[in-house]
Symmetry: C2
Subunit: 180 residues, 2 copies
DNA sequence: TATAGCATGTAATTAGTTACATGATTAA
DNA sequence: TTAATCATGTAACTAATTACATGCTATA
């Protein structure tokens, strides 16, 4: 059975505990979104496909009257997730960074414009860093309460990665300014 | 006129000199590919659209008998490229890194599997680094000959970025191994 | 009572890849 | 002569986003 990557995001999120589509989307938006985004338009159809394939099992839990369907992993789903995590297949690795793309073509700009571009790139990454730092307390709590260590390590990675990019922009701003 | 990002890749490549679709694809594959990929299936239709929009102008140059059509920027094309490069619109910034995604869910793995995952991630980035270093001599020549300074800076960025990722994997491998 | 949030979903669109077809030229 | 490279292109498909529709519940 061929699964796309987003299917594994869904399986992974459900593995952490019974989840609704809405909850999966909320979790994605404060975690994997920074290295693997997913929208409602993918998640809900994916939940149906995964249930048909027997990898997850849904249950309607009214909870109060509001319509709500939450899912848990089946043994087959657990296996599929583990197989993917340990699979030796080369990892998908795609970066689409419009800032770097513009920078690549920045010979067409004059020095002031080049510096302005770098400043915008830097501010972009500083913004990412801030949003990640805002998430940190919650992630720390999840780590301590439910032992989600690697999710926390990944957040650390995100912060240092955004920091690396912002620093690189700073250094380049100074370099361009110096040679102006 | 709404242009997609790949249109700007095409415009930017043509700005560096008269180019065929084939040449654009070859250039993309050794440069922007690492932060903005593009396939034939995008490039050829895009060339036609850009010509219809009057941003580029194609000319058949038989050169020998082989069918061949090369393009140059029009004044409008030059302007469109410059407007995009200086536009204050927020940059598209998307990362899809299956290694980091797996790492995020790696609480489901045992320590040996976690370390194996990190090793695969590291080797992936080391491979990127090697490919970029192989490109360096050519990029250096282009910088010296045609003053493509920012293209060269971008290559430097790529190498240090891949280095950052590989180093992060190394550190994490040691950290996981230590706590095993 | 109104607004924010919970919750599910889809239709239309855009973006992008893959795989193929075609044929010429150049170098081994 | 054969394989690699130059060169153009498209059809089919997969992936993903955007924008919308629907309706409930809790809180200010």
């Amino acid at each position: 059975m061929q699964l796309n990557r987003t299917a594994y995001v869904v399986l992974g999120m459900i593995r952490l505990g019974r989840r609704t589509g809405y909850e999966i989307k909320s979790l994605v938006d404060v975690s994997t979104r920074f290295f693997w985004a997913a929208s409602y338009g993918q998640i809900y159809p994916e939940l149906r496909r995964l249930e048909e394939a027997g990898l997850i099992e849904g249950e309607d839990d009214p909870e109060s009257g509001r319509r709500r369907r939450s899912y848990r992993l089946t043994a087959a789903g657990e296996r599929a997730l583990h197989d993917w995590l340990t699979s030796p297949e080369p990892h998908v690795l795609e970066l689409r960074d419009e800032g770097v793309l513009k920078f690549f073509f920045a010979d067409a700009l004059d020095p002031d414009e080049q510096i302005a571009l770098l400043r915008r790139m830097r501010e972009r990454y500083e913004g990412v860093s801030e949003r990640l730092e805002a998430i940190q307390p919650g992630a720390q709590a999840a780590r301590d309460a439910r032992g989600e260590e690697f999710a926390y390590f990944t957040l650390e990675w995100g912060i240092s990665h955004a920091g690396f990019m912002a620093d690189w922009c700073s250094r380049m701003e100074r370099r361009v300014a110096a040679s102006r």
